[in-house]
């Protein structure tokens, strides 16, 4: 059981900086998810924690000990790989016990641990099988079992679900969460799938271009992103970004989206945005669920507008509608019964109480 600390960690491949100074404190028993687009350095960071990559600068500590120079096997970590990396010629039992055997753990102890891990993962009846005879989900469990058996300080997961089909992925996601609740071990989990990150993590670390963009609970990241990148990366369908301007209008502020469309800024935000009045390169960030069909009852900071709908995508429990404002495609999320026909105008409602205003030059949320 241990905390993991990264201090100014850098990874250089030849002259290319893959990780450009990462600072991160992972608490004991915490489930941390590193998420970001491919090439953002999240896998490299994980592999540096594992000791599979040398670090070019900075320090990594596990359980308070700096492990920069410690080979992987002595770091007391376990890793689950994207393609599971099960040894194809060994059966499940041998796969799970291989590491312990190399450490010359007594036979009974190995057996006890494997049985216990198998029970947690519900794979007891698979112990004699070879990886080839297992389904994707079962292989995934075995890979986790191999990690659990080692009883490590830290679990490392490198995109463990991306080889599974969509349905199984959801199922295994729950499974991983359950396992973590049973075996409370510090976990670092890498994924490019923000849904996975949101559902699994105690805290999510969003990475971009070798740097951490933001660290926070899933709720924080979703509702108060620090940057345009995080705002756009978290949430599906992605947040709408509409170019806009902030105008002064009789003591209050007004958001102008185009010549015809302008809405008052919520009064609670007047102070926050007063400094950017008239500034160029501003973007309104509004999630699709905050653009809905009109309702008879109006709450404060909700404003109706009418636009021609271009595409309608019924999703079952909701319908997505797409239209254009100010040259940008915007997505709204409406009740399936609210109508909405492609090519016809529709009255929609924007809920500005959940708006974000972004300075597009710095990428910061104001």
């Amino acid at each position: 059981m241990a905390q993991v600390t990264l201090r100014k960690v850098i990874k250089k491949y030849d002259e290319v900086l893959a990780v450009r100074g990462v600072d991160l404190d992972i608490a004991d028993k915490e489930f941390i998810v590193l998420v970001g687009p491919s090439g953002c350095g999240k896998s490299t960071t994980l592999r540096m924690i594992a000791g599979l990559e040398e670090i070019s600068g900075g320090d990594i500590a596990i359980g308070g000990d700096v492990v920069n120079d410690v080979p992987p096997k002595d770091r007391d970590i376990a890793m689950v790989f994207q393609n599971y990396a099960l040894y194809p010629h060994m059966n499940v039992y041998e796969n799970m016990s291989f590491g312990l055997k190399l450490k010359r753990t007594p036979r009974q102890e190995i057996e006890r641990r494997v049985k216990q891990a198998a029970q947690i993962l519900d794979i007891t009846e698979l112990l004699d099988r070879k990886p080839k005879q297992l389904s994707g989900g079962q292989r995934q469990r075995v890979a986790m079992g191999r990690a659990i058996v080692r009883d490590p300080k830290v679990f490392l997961f490198d995109e463990p679900l991306s080889n599974l089909d969509a349905k199984l992925r959801v199922q295994m996601r729950t499974e991983i969460k359950k396992v973590h609740q049973k075996v409370r071990t510090t976990t670092v989990y890498v994924t490019h799938d923000q849904v996975e990150a949101m559902t699994l993590a105690d805290r999510v670390v969003v990475m971009n271009a070798g740097l951490i963009e933001q660290v926070g609970s899933p709720h924080d990241l979703y509702h108060s992103p620090n940057t345009k990148f995080v705002a756009g990366f978290i949430g599906s369908p992605a947040m709408n970004f509409i170019p806009c301007q902030v105008e002064q209008a009789a003591g209050a502020l007004r958001l102008r989206l185009n010549d015809k469309l302008a809405m008052p800024v919520p009064a609670s935000r007047t102070n926050r945005y007063s400094s950017v009045v008239g500034k160029p390169n501003l973007v309104l960030g509004l999630r699709p669920e905050h653009i809905m069909e009109t309702r008879p009852h109006t709450e404060s900071d909700q404003h109706d507008f009418e636009v021609p709908i271009e595409v309608v995508e019924p999703m079952g429990m909701e319908t997505l509608v797409y239209f254009t404002i100010n040259g940008t495609e915007v997505c709204g999320r409406i009740n399936p019964n609210a109508g909405g026909v492609a090519g016809q105008p529709m009255k929609l409602r924007a809920d500005l109480s959940n708006m974000h205003l972004i300075d597009d030059t710095t990428g910061k949320v104001l």
């Binding site: 000791g51 040398e54 920069n68 120079d69 410690v70 080979p71």
Partner: protein, 309 residues
């Protein structure tokens, strides 16, 4: 072992920050050690002899004096040498062309029949490749026997007079090429079959929908898709056929007279049997340029394959 300990010592001295780094360095040391037997083998028994051959070729016959390119110049003036060049090229090129054609055609025939039976046919067609060439050439020698030729016996039934298979220059050359084709075509067949199987079935289906005939599918789909394998296999076989020794040695031993003498057999005759090592070395070295060209093309094709993937 001494020179391995040395770098380790310096790494240790470098300080605490080097544990993992040391591990990585030790990794490359171990790797080098693991590859060392291979390196030594190639260096001592391939690279060194190859270089040594050049040196040997520059000595005089009794190997007491350095004569530079004198031996090469001498060989270039011999008619026998130009016969060898002509025959080696004739055998290699014609044999490779026929091997490639037969291999390509037979591969398609095998590919055409139901998958169940393919294994069996493939198995029978590959037998010539499995038998050691010296042994199978003995069978051909017996089939071509001047007085008991089993082929001539069949011909006699059709009123065709006996063919002097190995007794006359033209026929002897034909016989050498035939045996080369017989022994080498299965290799082409198996390579082309493997390539053929890797052509995605969807491409054939797409071509069929586009209205391609059977022949057009081969020409516009299979051939381009297999081009690389076809080239590599042919170049590879060119090297093997060109440098071949066994078949000619057993079948004709260069005869009649020198009508089927090729580089390898002539070098053996001159260098080992007549004991003129410098001249033998020089003869075999004349193969090098052609082999080098073929090898360069193979490497280019292989690296091209690599970059495609």
């Amino acid at each position: 072992m001494a020179d391995i300990a040395a770098p380790n010592a310096t790494v240790l001295a470098a300080g605490s920050r080097s544990g993992l780094h040391k591990l990585m360095q030790r990794k490359s040391t171990i790797a080098f050690l693991m590859a060392l037997p291979l390196i030594l083998l190639i260096a001592i028994l391939v690279a060194y002899p190859a270089g040594y051959a050049v040196y040997l070729a520059m000595l005089n016959k009794s190997m007491s004096k350095f004569v530079g390119f004198g031996t090469f110049e001498f060989i270039l003036k011999r008619q026998a040498f130009w016969d060898v060049v002509y025959q080696s090229c004739l055998f290699a090129i014609s044999a490779v062309i026929f091997k490639a054609i037969i291999g390509f055609v037979v591969a398609h025939f095998v590919h055409n029949i139901p998958a169940k039976g393919q294994r069996k046919w493939r198995g029978m067609l590959l037998v010539p490749w499995v038998i050691p060439p010296a042994m199978s050439t003995l069978a051909w020698l017996w089939l071509f026997d001047p007085s008991y030729s089993a082929f001539n016996w069949i011909f006699a039934h059709f009123g065709i007079s006996a063919v002097p298979w190995l007794g006359e220059a033209g026929w002897a050359r034909f016989a050498v090429i035939l045996v080369n084709i017989w022994a080498g075509a299965p290799f082409f067949m198996i390579m082309y079959l493997a390539a053929l199987k890797s052509v995605p079935e969807q491409l054939h289906e797409a071509a069929a929908i586009d209205g391609a005939t059977w022949w057009q599918k081969i020409w516009y789909v299979n051939l381009p898709m297999m081009r690389n394998i076809i080239a590599i296999t042919a170049l590879f076989s060119l090297i093997v056929t060109f440098a071949n020794f066994d078949i000619v040695r057993v079948l004709t031993n260069g005869g009649p007279l020198t009508a089927t003498q090729i580089f390898a057999t002539w070098a053996f005759k001159v260098g080992i049997e007549s004991g003129d090592i410098p001249q033998g070395a020089a003869v075999s070295l004349f193969m090098a340029p052609i082999l080098a060209i073929a090898a360069a093309f193979i490497l280019r094709n292989i690296s091209k394959r690599g970059s495609e993937v």
